[in-house]
């Protein structure tokens, strides 16, 4: 018994199987995590090696190069990027996307073991550390406080950070801008000298005074007592009265030589929220954690935590990545619902019956829901890729069911009982339904084999489409016949408004059928002209390809900008801060749509793990700006970014600035073109990079250009004279420590209060360490107790230290990173870079390469192009075996070039650049477009087999198949329109996909309906003639033979 016979015989079982699928699907859906994109995983592994005291170039030769040489052998490696700076070498290994990170890590470890014995003594063991996009914070909170500033760190650490760290999925929580309390003991060097005291001496005294010591146990009577001295200060002011030495038989107290100050750390990162000093809290998720769920948990906890805070502390949200994700997914979900309604309406219009429409419509949720089961099992998330796959699928899943249902109702209208009609009608069509599904599978299954970035993104689409299509096929040959057998009745027209309306629609369709068959007749007559016309259209459209720009991913407007401003190295914090505040004001004046403007300046403390990951300094300002939702403002984020660039350009004191949109990098972020300049000579490459940056910036289409190599950093170098040191009984190490204690300070002890520990730091008061002369005047004591000035022992100079040495693929490199202005596509930016490179003479020993998003785009496009060829071959194979012919599939394949024509036309009319999503649309089109051709040719062949002539068959088939073709095309095209014109948040990402499919399919359907029947007729007639000739020859031969006999 066939599967459809079984399902019609057992309606309850059949129904319940699908009910079960729906229930499991809905359950899986409720468990699915929401994310923006499929999990990209880690493709970067860092190897950190420190070598204390080595300069950048020493690190490069002694550490980076040997490590690079062995690490180069790690498998699946794409690039090696290395940074050699003072004391540390950072090697970033970039792998292909989708590799097994554990395996790669082990491989790296093995390779490192090989080389470890060859590294110089004193080089630490290399640390391997996996780095992924997940290190990007998911939530950034602003903190404003009026009174609690000094205690802010403690309050936040205790009441916000610790509880939040315990929330599931939270990786690290860092506080930025809230300085930690510190007890500073500021010494006056002149007083110290006159009393013969030293910073070290004071440090030791404090250390010895601030002690609680256990002294043992003592039995007294029947009890045992433990004995303890309580020497710890319970009030920091008590330190003032410590005796630190004696002079002329009189005690010298600490207050005589120093000031005890309860303050905060001296060098801190300052954070300003909308121009008001405050702090920010940065929350990162755990590797593999889900952004949306984690952020949801945090936001649930936050209100109760906020209640515990003092009243003057206000917490706000600077940005929340989960909001962006939810909004994006939300607008895609809306699009899906619109598509669903549109598809059902189209089916209703064509079929004209509620029951039939219901039977068809039920297939949609059943097959879509099945994909949720797949997502849940494989641990994938609900994201832009999976949801846009579903929106494409809606228009396709109904096709099979429609074919089956149409045949069943034909049988019922001829008088069969629904039950037997369901079985036998399905039997007649199921083979062709399977065949047309195979064509779609030939498109989507190869997608699952893609590798690289495109692979990670589109593998999921490949699987989802495969599953949805297979389930819809199964539903159409089991559920549809079963439901038809139960629900369908012989058609009878009622006189409701809908029936009248639908009747009118049907009469129009009848007219269209008639008109189309007439046109077909004409086309068959004017064959040559049609071919010439089609060729001209196709070739003309290819010229459009030259002018259509390309891009990678359209960047998403999520209302966020990050700006990095660099002042000249060594600029004081006060200067940078003033500029930061001024810029904040300028931004506030210029952007009424700005909700939040946060910036930080200065070096973060050691406790701020997040801050340490990024470049920072007193000369650097990092802005985080958030704007209102895209739908609520007139200016796009690109426009705002361009204005920001202009504003920043007005400040001559700014060395470099860089404005980034949204997330930055990757899919949906801002696209970049990176000019990589390889060369060994620092000066030559610096000069060349500067020339290129200048040239590209002359073009207004280039928004910004950033040179990766840092400038030389000014620093004060103290060169001790070893001979003089030796004479005084000192060595470089001790002398350096002594100087460090005076400037950086020595940690004497910790001050405890309410269970918290605060550092007690002893050093010279700030006014005694302001210039080079202050250093020269510092007094050090030799082991013999003699005082000596630093100036006598060392040469003190201001010098410039060479910057970080960057390497890629084992050569020195400087990068010029370019971003585009508003509405400038990636290909134009690459063009600018290429032009700049062409115009500049390449000095000897320098090679260049274009990288960045541009490279990702080129690689992904190449992958997709290869995929298209593979898909074309597979589709041809499926069709050839279905028709058992090489000619008919060849005829049908002709509809594909016109899909390309439609896409090119659509892209140029709407001014959309060709991106990855549009390329993907082109791949999908192959399958969708070919399906129409198959329907048409299959029926034409059927008519010929029934004995009609070629011309008759072509016209009759056209007339009879126009309606199903229109119906499937309209469902798919209408399904794409909400995707194509969506305006919600994140819609930029799928607009090109919807647009390509809609334009390509519309155009190619129009051509298919004319060109394919005509080509078929030509080939078929040629075949008939050839056969007739052969037969004639055979007849003549046998006649000749009989004459001979």
């Amino acid at each position: 018994m066939s599967i459809f016979q079984k399902s019609v015989k057992n309606p309850i079982t059949t129904a319940l199987i699908y009910v079960a699928i729906v229930i499991i699907g809905v359950y899986s859906y409720s468990k699915l995590a929401v994310d923006l994109l499929p999990d990209l995983g880690t493709n970067n592994i860092l190897v950190l090696t420190s070598y204390e005291g080595a300069s950048a170039s020493d690190i490069e030769t002694n550490v980076t190069k040997p490590l690079e040489n062995v690490l180069n052998g790690v498998s699946n490696l794409k690039h090696i990027n290395a940074n050699s700076k003072e004391n540390v070498s950072v090697i970033a290994l970039e792998f292909e996307y989708g590799i097994d990170v554990e395996e790669a890590t082990n491989d790296i470890r093995d390779k490192l073991d090989l080389v470890s014995s060859m590294l110089p003594d004193g080089v630490s063991k290399p640390i391997i550390f996996k780095f992924s996009t997940e290190a990007i914070p998911i939530l950034m909170l602003s903190v404003q406080s009026e009174e609690s500033t000094n205690a802010l760190y403690k309050i936040l650490d205790e009441r916000i950070v610790s509880p939040l760290s315990r929330v599931e999925g939270v990786g690290a929580v860092s506080i930025q801008g809230a300085p930690q309390r510190e007890i500073n003991i500021y010494c006056d060097p002149y007083k110290l000298d006159s009393y013969g005291l030293t910073v070290e001496g004071i440090t030791n005294v404090i250390r010895a005074e601030n002690l609680n010591l256990p002294l043992g146990n003592m039995d007294m009577g029947s009890s045992t007592f433990s004995i303890r001295t309580i020497g710890e200060f319970d009030d920091y002011a008590a330190m003032n009265d410590i005796v630190v030495g004696s002079f002329n038989n009189r005690n010298v107290y600490l207050k005589d030589v120093a000031v005890v100050k309860d303050t905060v750390q001296e060098r801190v990162q300052e954070v300003y929220n909308n121009g008001v000093r405050g702090a920010s809290i940065i929350i990162q998720k755990q590797t593999g954690g889900n952004t949306v769920n984690t952020a949801k948990e945090i936001k649930k906890r936050l209100p109760e935590l906020m209640e515990t805070l003092p009243e003057d502390i206000k917490i706000g949200v600077i940005y929340d990545t989960s909001d962006d994700i939810l909004n994006t997914i939300g607008s895609l979900r809306e699009a899906i619902i619109t598509i669903l309604i549109l598809v059902v309406v189209v089916v209703m219009m064509f079929l004209g019956r509620w029951r039939a429409t219901f039977i068809i419509a039920i297939v949609i949720p059943v097959s879509l829901v099945a994909s949720f089961i797949y997502l849940a099992i494989t641990g994938n998330s609900l994201n832009v890729i999976s949801l846009s796959s579903l929106s494409i699928a809606i228009g396709m899943v109904v096709d099979d069911a429609i074919v089956v249902l149409e045949n069943i109702s034909k049988h019922i209208s001829r008088g069969s009982k629904p039950k037997s009609a369901a079985v036998y009608a399905t039997n007649e069509v199921y083979l062709s339904v399977v065949a047309s599904t195979l064509v779609l599978l030939a498109v989507f299954l190869p997608m699952t084999t893609l590798s690289g970035l495109a692979g990670v993104l589109f593998k999921q689409m490949g699987w989802i489409m495969t599953i949805v299509i297979v389930v819809s096929l199964l539903a159409s040959i089991t559920l549809t016949p079963m439901m038809s057998s139960v629900m369908l009745k012989a058609q009878h027209r009622s006189n409701s408004w809908f029936d009248r309306f639908q009747g009118k629609f049907e009469r129009q369709l009848d007219k269209l059928d008639l008109w189309y068959s007439k046109v077909l007749g004409l086309v068959l007559k004017w064959r040559v002209w049609v071919i010439v016309g089609a060729l001209v259209i196709f070739i003309a459209s290819l010229f459009l390809a030259k002018v259509i720009p390309t891009e990678f991913f359209s960047h998403e407007d999520n209302g966020r900008l990050t700006v990095t401003v660099k002042l000249p190295m060594g600029t004081r914090l006060e200067e940078s801060r003033a500029l930061g505040l001024e810029l904040t004001q300028r931004f506030q004046e210029n952007f009424p749509e700005m909700i939040h403007c946060n910036f930080n300046v200065g070096q973060p403390s050691d406790q701020n793990t997040f801050g340490r990951l990024f470049e920072s300094g007193s000369h650097m300002l990092s802005f985080n700006m958030r704007f209102t939702k895209k739908t609520e403002r007139e200016r796009g984020i690109q426009e705002i970014s361009d204005i920001t660039n202009t504003i920043l350009g007005e400040y001559p004191q700014i060395n470099t600035y860089f404005v980034r949109l949204g997330r930055g990098g990757g899919a949906g972020g801002q696209s970049t073109v990176v000019v990589e300049i390889y060369g060994n000579d620092f000066l030559e490459t610096d000069k060349f990079a500067a020339t290129i940056a200048d040239k590209v910036l002359q073009d207004t289409r280039c928004g910004s250009a950033k040179i990766s190599r840092e400038e030389y950093t000014p620093e004060v170098s103290i060169n001790f004279d070893r001979r003089k040191l030796a004479e005084k009984g000192l060595n470089v190490g001790t002398a350096a420590t002594l100087v460090k204690n005076r400037i950086g300070g020595a940690i004497a002890s910790v001050y405890r209060e309410d269970g918290h520990e605060y550092m007690i730091r002893v050093r010279l008061a700030p006014e005694f360490r302001e210039n080079l002369n202050d250093i020269r005047q510092m007094t050090l004591f030799t082991p013999q107790g003699a005082a000596v000035k630093v100036g006598e022992l060392a040469q003190i100079d201001e010098v410039l230290t060479p910057p970080t040495i960057e390497r890629k693929n084992r050569s020195r490199i400087v990068k010029v990173e370019m971003t585009a202005s508003a509405d400038v596509p990636l290909s134009d930016l690459a063009e600018i870079a290429k032009d700049a490179l062409d115009q500049t003479e390449l000095p000897q020993g320098i090679t260049t390469e274009l990288a960045g998003t541009y490279q990702d785009q080129q690689e992904s496009f190449a992958d997709l192009a290869l995929l298209m060829v593979l898909i074309l071959i597979l589709v041809f194979i499926v069709m050839a075996s279905q028709f058992e012919s090489f000619v008919y599939p060849f005829v049908i394949i002709f509809s594909i070039p016109f899909a390309l024509t439609g896409v090119l036309l659509g892209l140029s009319v709407t001014g959309t650049p060709l991106g990855l999503m549009a390329m993907l649309g082109l791949v999908l089109l192959i399958g969708i477009v070919v399906k129409n051709g198959i329907v048409l040719i299959d029926y034409t062949i059927l008519l010929r087999e029934r004995g009609h002539t070629v011309e008759e068959s072509v016209v009759m088939a056209g007339r009879s198949r126009l309606r199903p073709i229109l119906m499937t095309t309209i469902t798919t095209v209408l399904g794409m329109i909400p995707l194509a014109i969506g305006k919600g948040e994140g819609a930029e990402m799928w607009n090109p996909l919807g647009m390509t499919v809609a334009w390509g399919l519309t155009f190619s359907t129009m051509i298919t309906l004319l060109l394919i029947p005509m080509l078929y007729a030509s080939f078929a007639r040629y075949g008939e003639k050839r056969r007739a000739r052969k037969q004639r020859k055979l007849l003549e031969k046998s006649a000749a033979q009989s004459v001979v006999e």
């Binding site: 049988h411 001829r414 008088g415 069969s416 009982k417 037997s420 079985v423 036998y424």
Partner: protein, 97 residues
């Protein structure tokens, strides 16, 4: 005794079976899938690409008095769906085992 050969579109299977039950015809032979085409109008039933439908066939040996009611009922059945095709032929049955 008469032999009645019924060749009909597959979907009539259930109906014909019901007729047999009504008329208390117990014995018959049934072919699930047979191909054929009629003399006059009607579509061929070949189960092929061009003519995807198929017929089924019954052969039953019945008493002479049962023939007319059966033929009558079959005629009525044919009228309910004339396009689907249902034909019956009555032949003499000469001997039985």
């Amino acid at each position: 005794m008469k032999a009645v050969f019924i060749s009909a579109y597959q979907a009539f299977y259930q109906d014909i079976l019901e007729l047999f039950n009504q008329l208390e015809i117990r014995g018959f032979t049934y072919w699930d899938e047979v191909q054929g085409r009629g003399h006059f109008n009607g579509e061929p039933h070949y189960g092929s690409h061009a003519w995807p439908t198929l017929n089924c066939a019954f052969l039953t040996m019945i008493e002479d008095h049962q023939v007319e009611p059966l033929m009558q009922k079959l005629r009525e059945l044919d009228k309910t769906a004339p396009q689907q095709g249902l034909r019956a032929f009555v032949l003499p049955c000469l001997e039985m085992l």
